[in-house]
């Protein structure tokens, strides 16, 4: 009963925040509500037992997206919006009138799904001893469905390459005040430590490359905002190497497997654990580098 009530409160909060984020009076409010939404969502994941997700959501969903949103707001300024006039309201009502029956349709046809189950979890658990890790989610991510993960690193790279086409991504940051500098100087190593811990934990318990990478990125971003780090320049090749490291290593392992007869992305017996660990470390560094560049990447270099 108490659990049901908790669910109800969480869900109500979630939906209210979502509505507020969409239709908030000013853009600033909207973004604030959206970041809060992310945090509540992380709570929901935790409540539903998906700790990996809770961590990922807190770090990536709420933290990083929030940072990106505020950065976008800073670029956009507080331009008057003229968003919610009468025409918009009419449009909104019309769309709602269309979508409500859709909701009913969806709910009625999805209801039976709550009772079914899947053969995959059992298979995943049965194969776990051979996967090289103890945590089933990590096994899925880096072994059973490693191909998805590889491509997803490529997606991240593409987002970075796409953002690079857009000219200066530099934030016009004010000079940081001294406390921030001092505070960040202590915060950053802490973030690195926590990130490393998450990464390590990932093989046996919730946590892993993405969560760790996002935390590291947060550290880098805060250091950079405090001007404790030099500008991150794309033209600096070790940085590019860092961005590519995870994907390159992953791809090399895949290709080596195919070349040596194991099969595409098959780890040789006994090598699964070290290889997965190596890939995770490399991926963490790459993700951290990519995400930091996405947030605080410097202006594109002059054309050669």
């Amino acid at each position: 009963m108490a659990e049901g009530l908790f669910d109800l409160v969480l869900a109500g909060l979630l939906l209210m925040l979502a509505g507020g984020a969409l239709y908030g009076r000013s853009l600033y409010t909207s973004i604030l509500l959206f970041v809060t939404f992310g945090l509540v969502l992380a709570l929901v994941w935790a409540r539903l037992g998906a700790v990996d997700l809770a961590l990922a959501e807190a770090a990536i969903g709420a933290g990083l997206t929030g940072a990106l949103l505020f950065a976008a707001l800073a670029r956009q300024g507080r331009a008057p919006e003229g968003e919610f006039d009468l025409a918009c309201r009419r449009r909104g009502l019309a769309a709602a009138a269309v979508l409500l029956p859709v909701l009913w349709l969806m709910l009625s046809s999805l209801a039976p799904l709550a009772e079914r189950d899947s053969p995959l979890p059992e298979l995943a658990l049965a194969a776990l001893p051979h996967s090289g890790v103890e945590h089933p989610v990590t096994a899925v991510l880096l072994n059973y469905r490693a191909w998805d993960t590889l491509l997803e690193l490529a997606v991240l790279l593409l987002a970075l390459l796409g953002a690079r086409q857009l000219g200066s991504g530099r934030l016009d940051t004010a000079r940081p005040w001294p406390q921030l500098r001092a505070w960040n100087a202590h915060l950053a190593p802490l973030l690195v430590l926590v990130g490393g811990f998450l990464l390590w934990r990932g093989s046996s318990a919730p946590g892993g490359a993405f969560q760790a990478g996002a935390l590291l990125a947060a550290g880098v971003v805060s250091l950079r905002l405090a001007h404790l780090l030099p500008p991150l320049r794309w033209s600096f090749w070790p940085l590019r190497l860092l961005v590519l490291l995870g994907l390159a290593l992953f791809l090399a392992v895949a290709a080596a497997g195919a070349w040596l007869g194991q099969g595409w992305l098959s780890y040789p017996a006994g090598w699964a654990k070290p290889l997965i660990l190596a890939i995770e470390v490399a991926a963490t560094l790459s993700i951290a580098a990519s995400l930091s560049l996405l947030v605080v990447g410097e202006r594109r270099e002059p054309a050669p």
Partner: protein, 93 residues
């Protein structure tokens, strides 16, 4: 009403709410938020399906992690684009 079914419904509502925003809103940043809400809705549906059994379905959770990273990458790109556009508009004005 079982817990999975409840969260399944919440996920659907969230997805539709996002869709509604995408259909009606014009501001780029708000539309990006709407897309993210749609994404959260889908993830909620997936996790709701994952907790139908004990312990939860690791495959679905892993899929959500992947989806989350994809979503954040795309969001980052979209936000940069919108920021650039806004800046260009300010430059024009």
């Amino acid at each position: 009403m079982s817990t999975p079914l409840f969260w399944l419904g919440v996920g659907c509502v969230l997805w539709l709410l996002g869709l509604h925003g995408l259909l009606t809103l014009r501001n780029a940043v708000r539309r990006i938020i709407a897309i993210n809400l749609m994404g959260s809705g889908v993830f909620l549906v997936m996790v709701a399906l994952a907790i139908r059994e004990r312990p939860g379905d690791p495959v679905l959770v892993a899929l959500v992690v992947t989806g989350l990273v994809v979503a954040v990458s795309a969001t980052a790109l979209a936000l940069r684009l919108s920021g650039q556009l806004a800046r260009a508009r300010k430059g024009d004005a």
